[in-house]
Amino acid sequence: MTAALDAITVVFVLAGCFFFLAGNVGLLRFPDTLTRLHALTKADNLGLGLVVIGLMPRMDHPLSALKLLLVWALGMLAAATVGQLIARSVLRRGLPIWKGPQ
């Protein structure tokens, strides 16, 4: 049983790390602000969610596991809001927008 829980932790935390890496590569490599925003706000919250799932079996108390879920929910709420607000500010200020590969 312990080995199975450990395996869950390893697999999900590693998967979470992968999506954080993907989000960061997107932030560094994508061509304009909006595409970078897209990479950032989606990939890293998926990463955070996978990390949360991976850590949940290690909690002593079910309520602590619920608290982990609350952390994830708040992270998603922040990312969704920030994504909207920053995107609108980019549009309003007329920043250059990528029109696809030349």
Partner: protein, 112 residues
Amino acid sequence: MSEFLLGAAFFLLITVAGGLVRVVLGPDQADKMMAAQLLSSGGIAILLIVGVGLQLEGAIDVALVVALLAAFAAVAFVKGTSQAGTGDPEAVGVDQLTTLRQDAPQGRPDSP
């Protein structure tokens, strides 16, 4: 297991620290703000992992506070870009969004 978790925290720290390049390069202030956002969500994950790895129950509370306040800096930034400095951060017309869609290259799923 503690070794694995702290190793994962190390990997995440190095990964999100790469975002600091955007703080320097920008080009827009939105890009710099996004780097802070990446470090904030990555920081939440690191706090959770380190907390479990070191068996510090309180670390989850720290992560909870960071997650609760994760949107604050970006909200203040977007407010600051409005004309009055405190105005509506969403004062962009639907027409601007429509124009954007029409400009999109053919073949993109959301193009008309």
